[in-house]
């Protein structure tokens, strides 16, 4: 017995499946493009000197070795440079938050004349190429006898990070409801107490994100750090200046050492990335 129903048209369903498969395939392709180079340099960093020199290389590792990495870390200057990088990063975070967060708070909470002018000024600083500032700053530090110090690099990085810090923290403070602050004032806090005891704790996760972001900015900055230092280089500056005479294993180990914090950073920051870039860049 046949029913009166027409046969089911499976084409739309099939088209949908094909589309989903295509999307998945494209995603995997992009992911491979992003991941394979990182896998390769990791492989290179954990290979022995012999297998780095071997040619043609095997793409599947035979044995692991920490020889390359340990010789990189035992090279002259690597450890002090690593220390300088961390120090400069922490100082930069401290100063740019100390100076930038109040400015961000002012932008978020007050309406005042000149607000747009200030915003424009900050954006202008952000949009200018660093290189224009690096050379005169290097000369200026030379005159002030500040050259080749951690302080000099910190100043350069702080001024680079400051515009972003101001804009990001403004976004963070806007997200904290003003009602809570007013409520605190009703219960007898003055403005400063309300800001310190109510707003700052609520904004803390966002501020932490901004801090990590600033740290990475400082960790990755090369040109400024290279120009203002000679003996007290940060790690990227150290690797850059050593490139000329460095051996291949040194380069690969250096590249890997510079990448590791990035892996951790993005893992921690995944949730904040979109908010940070989305709200601050408009």
């Amino acid at each position: 017995m046949t029913t009166g129903l027409p046969p089911i048209d499976r084409r739309p369903l099939r088209r949908r499946r094909w589309r989903a498969a295509g999307v998945q395939l494209a995603c995997v392709a992009v992911s491979l493009f992003m991941a394979v180079p990182i896998a390769l340099i990791t492989l290179a960093a954990f290979s022995s000197r012999d297998s780095i020199d071997a040619y043609p290389k095997t793409l599947i590792p035979r044995q692991f070795s920490t020889e390359t990495l340990s010789s990189f870390f035992h090279a002259t200057g690597t450890f002090p440079a690593l220390g300088n990088s961390v120090l400069v990063g922490l100082y930069t975070v401290f100063w740019s938050l100390l100076i930038g967060a109040p400015a961000g708070y002012a932008l978020a909470r007050y309406a005042f004349r000149g607000k747009d002018a200030y915003r424009l000024f900050v954006l202008l600083v952000r949009a200018l190429p660093i290189v224009v500032l690096s050379v005169p700053l290097a000369t200026m530090f030379l005159h002030l006898r500040l050259d080749d110090t951690v302080l000099a690099v910190t100043l350069v990085h702080t001024v680079l990070a400051l515009p972003t810090t101001v804009l990001i923290t403004a976004g963070i403070f806007v997200a904290v409801p003003a009602d809570l602050e007013e409520a605190a004032q009703v219960f007898g806090c003055n403005r400063r107490q309300a800001a310190w005891q109510v707003v700052v704790p609520l904004a803390l996760p966002g501020l932490a994100a901004a801090a990590i972001f600033t740290f990475v900015l400082s960790w990755n900055e090369i040109l400024g750090a290279t120009l203002v230092t000679l003996g007290h280089r940060t790690l990227p500056a150290q690797v850059l200046t050593a490139l000329g005479e460095a051996s291949t294993p040194y380069r690969f180990a250096g590249g890997f050492a510079l990448i590791v914090p990035a892996l951790v950073f993005i893992l921690v920051m995944r949730r904040y990335l979109l908010n940070m870039w989305g709200t601050t860049l408009r």
């Binding site: 992009v30 992911s31 900055e221 120009l227 990448i259």
Partner: protein
């Protein structure tokens, strides 16, 4: 002035002072230094620069790099955004990988791709194992300008597409889904929806991404430095050379002013051309 009106300026003051001292003043210094000679004003630094055999190739390479890299990144980032919006499986994993290069420095990216493109690198190894090449290709050989450009382009696309991607995704999330659904109801095909609905609404994000990426691409130098040394000169790399190796801050300032001029011109161009359709809408 009342206390209330003064507070915001008190909060802004430290940042203004610092930015003026470490930004306004050096900027003025850069201009002065670039034009100062032994006896008063001079364009000698610039003429010295223009007669340097590395300068014109550096200028050409920098502009080539921008012209090639920025459009690729923009298209790739839009495609990646559309993929994210299609909600594939394992989205979180893919997203993590796609954002990874965001935190990777130029120098590290250059070194990563050096392991691939080096004479005894992974790419040549692969080619030999597949029987596609007898002895490998000298990708980074100093006479092979085009393969060097290719290597630098791939490294830059790899490193900096993430930034465009994050900006575009953030912009796309602000667009209400209703618009797209309405177009669907009225029978628009996917291409029409992309062309007439999604892209116009993304225009502000795309503009920001374009300006930011162009200015950052102008500053590229460590990628090329790590891959090729000075064989593939770029403008900022030349600044570094003039300052560090040739010990001539005046010419270094002159190069940096060239970079500044190009960034200002491109930013102004973008602001004019990308804003225009928005007003017409």
């Amino acid at each position: 002035m009342t206390l209330r009106a003064r507070t915001p300026w008190l909060l802004l003051l430290p940042s203004i002072v610092l930015l003026l001292a470490l930004f306004g003043w050096p900027l003025a210094q850069a201009v002065v230094q670039a034009f100062r000679g032994g006896h008063g004003l001079t364009v000698g630094n610039f003429s010295r620069l223009f007669h340097d055999p590395y300068f014109l190739p550096a200028l050409r390479n920098t502009i080539l790099l921008i012209v090639i890299v920025v459009p690729i990144q923009l298209i790739l980032a839009i495609a990646m955004t559309l993929l994210v919006q299609a909600r594939p499986r394992f989205l979180a994993g893919h997203f993590y990988l796609w954002c990874l290069p965001l935190a990777i420095s130029e120098l590290a990216a250059g070194l990563v791709w050096l392991s691939v493109f080096g004479n005894r690198g992974y790419l040549n190894s692969l080619l030999i194992r597949l029987g596609l090449a007898h002895d490998g290709v000298q990708w980074l050989g100093y006479r092979h300008t085009w393969t060097m450009l290719l290597a630098v382009v791939i490294a830059e696309v790899w490193r900096a597409t993430s930034l465009v991607f994050v900006i575009v995704v953030a912009g796309a999330q602000l667009i209400p889904r209703d618009y797209d659904e309405a177009a669907q109801v009225f029978g628009a095909n996917p291409w029409q929806r992309l062309r007439h609905v999604t892209l116009p609404l993304l225009a502000p994000s795309l503009q920001v991404a374009l300006i930011l990426r162009t200015i950052l691409a102008l500053q590229a130098f460590a990628v090329a430095q790590a891959l090729t040394g000075r064989d593939f000169p770029l403008l900022v790399g030349e600044t570094y050379q003039w300052y560090s190796n040739l010990q001539n801050p005046a010419v270094a300032s002159a190069v940096s002013l060239v970079v500044l001029a190009i960034s200002l011109i491109t930013a102004a161009l973008y602001l004019r051309t990308v804003r225009a359709p928005e007003e017409a809408r």
